[in-house]
Symmetry: C2
Subunit: 243 residues, 2 copies
């Protein structure tokens, strides 16, 4: 019934999610795990893994002894903070036409805070890129990226800077971002920031201060982002973890 690659679990997840979106389960109830396993021709374990992922995404809820049910509220939410990987995709999920402007880029010695975050010596040459994301032409996210120059091959063009940062890092540095460690910081839109995001000065904004790590747990990028809250409201599902 299903082939390998991507994993059976992932395929089962997508299959079930599609059935949900197609209103296959009219009463909001999802078939029993054993039934799904038979229907998709995989083991119950695989189905359970798939349902666990969907539960984590807020798509379904499970109740022991009762069944598994569609989570209508969770199904609607976009821009989950913990699922953002590229701003391009995030804006597209919202139905916006996303575009990117490179406002500035330069290689210069790393200032102290950047050097500390990236665990490099102060003054190590670092690529600094200032990007503005637009949604349907309206400015919505302003991003500063700092990447140690020695990680990059250097043969990129100005146009390449418009690539999603994880693509850029892979193409020109053979680096993969495994995860980000992010701090959420409130800021005031002053001068430059207010100008680029086209908001009134002293508007309160959310910013991310984050460091991206590669598969070897080495910091490879420092990133600071500011969001226009009215166009891009950040959301999150919080659960109790005790089990």
């Amino acid at each position: 019934m299903l082939k390998r690659t991507p994993s059976l679990t992932e395929q089962a997840k997508l299959h079930i999610k599609q059935m949900i979106l197609d209103d296959t389960f009219v009463d909001g109830r999802i078939p029993a795990e054993t039934d799904l396993a038979i229907e998709l021709g995989v083991s119950r374990t695989t189905i359970r893994d798939a349902l666990s992922r969907l539960e984590g995404e807020g798509v379904v809820m499970r109740k022991q002894g009762a069944g598994t049910f569609i989570n209508e509220v969770g199904l609607q939410i976009k821009s989950r903070l913990d699922e953002i990987w590229s701003y391009e995709a995030m804006l597209a999920d919202h139905g916006y036409e996303a575009s990117v402007h490179i406002l500035d880029h330069v290689i210069r010695p790393a200032p102290k805070d950047v050097a500390e975050a990236l665990d490099i010596a102060t003054d190590t040459p670092t690529l600094e890129v200032k990007k503005l994301f637009l949604a349907d032409g309206k400015p919505v996210i302003l991003v500063y990226n700092h990447i140690p120059a020695h990680l990059l091959s250097g043969d990129y063009t100005d146009g390449d800077l418009q690539l999603p940062v994880y693509t850029f890092l892979w193409e020109f540095g053979r680096q993969q971002i495994n995860h980000y460690l992010s701090e959420i910081v409130p800021v005031l839109a002053t001068g430059d920031l207010a100008h680029h995001l086209a908001v009134q000065p002293n508007t309160p904004l959310i910013s991310f201060h984050e460091v991206g790590y590669n598969d070897d747990n080495q910091p490879i990028i420092k990133s600071t982002s500011c969001f226009r809250d009215d166009l891009m409201r950040l959301r999150l599902i919080r659960r109790q973890i005790i089990k």
Copy 2:
């Protein structure tokens, strides 16, 4: 070796985490899953589930073909946004002496926004509680909770309002909060807010606008919280989800 309840997986998780904290694995490398399974007397599946949870908490990193390694950076972080369940516990995790002040509480008809969020008729009697959390005596979180009065038995005292909200809801309403759906909103500290949190007026702050749902996916509480960023910096681990 291990008993049931809590689950073997959870016990294995805690056991491994404790070994990590005890510096049992001096080189930052965690034994192979099969070895851990033998050592703890459980199946490899159980060990894998335990390690998956630790990976989710940022405690370890896994590399296919290479091994499982301690994530020193992730091990340090506190106040992970997606793991907050009670502010009392969160403050305690930070090493603060936590205390709670009930600033105000009243039962009155639900205003429009509360009624909509809780899916009840406008004017439904609703308990409104205004709480201030202090860390080592310093004000740090201001919370407004709204709970429909008909969910509560009503025989609580003023002192009971100081209980963590999930305890209060269980004791006096037999309701369990399954999850919250939260929005992260930037705000300015004006008047009342600035006063209670003891910050300068117009300081930018992070606020949560959230709704708590019970096991039947019914909204049972609307909650708004504001944080003093200097005392309580919110953090998050973001991963790529493709698998």
